[in-house]
Amino acid sequence: MNDGKNTSGSATYTPKVIDEIHRAAREGIYSIRGAGAKRAVPNFDDLVFLGASMSRYPLEGYRERCDTNVVIGARYASKPIELDIPITIAGMSFGALGANAKRALGLGASAMGTSTTTGDGGMTQEEREASKTLIYQYLPSRYGMTPNQLRQADAIEVVIGQGAKPGGGGMLLGQKITDRVAEMRTLPAGIDQRSACRHPDWTGPDDLEIKIQELREITNWEKPIYVKVGATRTRYDVMLAVKAGADAVVIDGMQGGTAATQNIFIEDVGIPTLPAVRLAVEALQELDMHRKVQLIVSGGIRTGGDVAKALALGADAVSIGMAALMALNCNAPLFEDDYASLGTRPGECHMCHTGRCPVGITTQDAELEKRLDPEEGARRVQNYLSTLTMECQTLARACGKSHVHNLEPEDMVALTVEAAAMAGVPLAGTDWIPGVNK
């Protein structure tokens, strides 16, 4: 709207858009950054629980049990994963993260009886030692991938894609390719490393079935095999993963983070976590595989409320990446001059790709890494996971559930029409689920 002062902005060409056009014209290359989607999308905030009432009775908060354990991988694996809480740490590579961050995540997760996950570049001995339960990612690049590491893992996660960049490969810019990272990945130090977006020796679900067979043969059919995909064609991806023989499926919504990729990828590819959970659960139910093939959901999980809502929609567990890093002080108001030198500030930083992380998490710089004490970091991760778990239990008990897995879609309503349609729960105050009934 014109305010009559010839200063009105355009709704199409906002100052932010104009800035980006200027930047593109100046630099001639796409913008690369870390973290996840920043645009507003329907999410778990748009759902609320219906606590106990006349027709439901709650459990006592501090006296009656509300269990949180989960078993993952019993479909085919002879040694399934048993976790105390349904909240795991998502795959993040040594390279993207420094060694102290990996160790802190491992120690913190282990203290809570849950798992951590490797990333591109293979497994470091430090993270194996720090993590009681370690999931080993099997990625298209196969950087650092060895059969010995496969056998040392507690489960294998075949990564087809991730929520931040479904259809895209990894990216690690030269400033993070130190000698150690380069050696682990068999690459020259200091180059801008591009990970492949497709696996080198299989394409499609029929091949994946054979690849999974090979992985099982090599690990004596002991390890659970997860298949991770970015949320896009979720219904079909889940069905095909099940057909290919997965023990568990990991669905990563578009809010999921990354260490580095094109901004356009983060913001314009994939679907939000909210509809992805419903689509995945429906696919499993259609195959009579719900609770037999475990569903792990990631992408924008921040609170115990998010955890409880994902479980209520039918997930068996959730996975957290960015929030776990925030527990380590990512975006904390510390070393503010260093944020400023990167052109950002606490609360808005996504400069993971630069390797100059002000709080010493996403860096390979020895001096910056000293800012993260792994023991203190582990305690914060433990505290955060504990808080999420207690919050989730609080909501489950309020709904009368003695296990968090007993939460169900009927325990929730949506606050917006969009969320009602995406999650498949009624709009609050109505019995209307858009797309299901009129």
């Binding site: 630099e27 991938m145 060895t146 080198p200 020796d201």
Partner: protein, 227 residues
Amino acid sequence: MEIIDLNSVAVRELNQLLQMRDGVVSEKKFKVLHPGGRHALSVGLTHPIDVTIEGHTGYYCGGMNQEARITVNGNVGTGVAENMMSGCVRVKGDASQSAGATAHGGLLVIEGDASARCAISLKGGDVVVFGSVGHMAAFMAQAGRLVVLGDVGDDLGDSLYEADIYVRGTVASLGADCEEKEMTSDCCSELESLLVEAEVAADVAKFRRFGSARNLYHFNIDNVGEY
């Protein structure tokens, strides 16, 4: 020599036996009969044993091999010797796609032809093909050597890192950032040794060498047309 007939033994039993899961290496030579194109045969081996497979195999034969010497008297499917760490896999016939993919070490010899993406993402292993290879050979190969005595298809060495490629026949086209390199005396010696190890006679003077131009190692707008 122990003989395993896959008409009566399951693939899982075969691999458990060859992987020496019980920790006992009492027999060092094995012959596998009637492979019938089955997948994942002789995968994940960890001991210096000899395995001969009499017939054709499916995907991933010899996958992730460590130390074992595997010979296939037949053709192999996709991903033979994928991610091999050490040892040797020898194919007397032809190989399908992605032969030797991501191999970190060891030697893969294909006495016939190999299909597309041979030695893709090679990480230090050696692949020697007596015949010809298809397109995208050595795509994103990081280290190790690919030797082709026959011809090579389109886009050889696309997005190559530090692997070396030697070709005796014709090259249909080079991929992004792959260029012909000088065939130095050191290269000739190295190739000669590799050919001896692969048990093939060939005049090293007739080979050309290809490697990375290293122009795509850093993002640069002036190279955008190459991506």
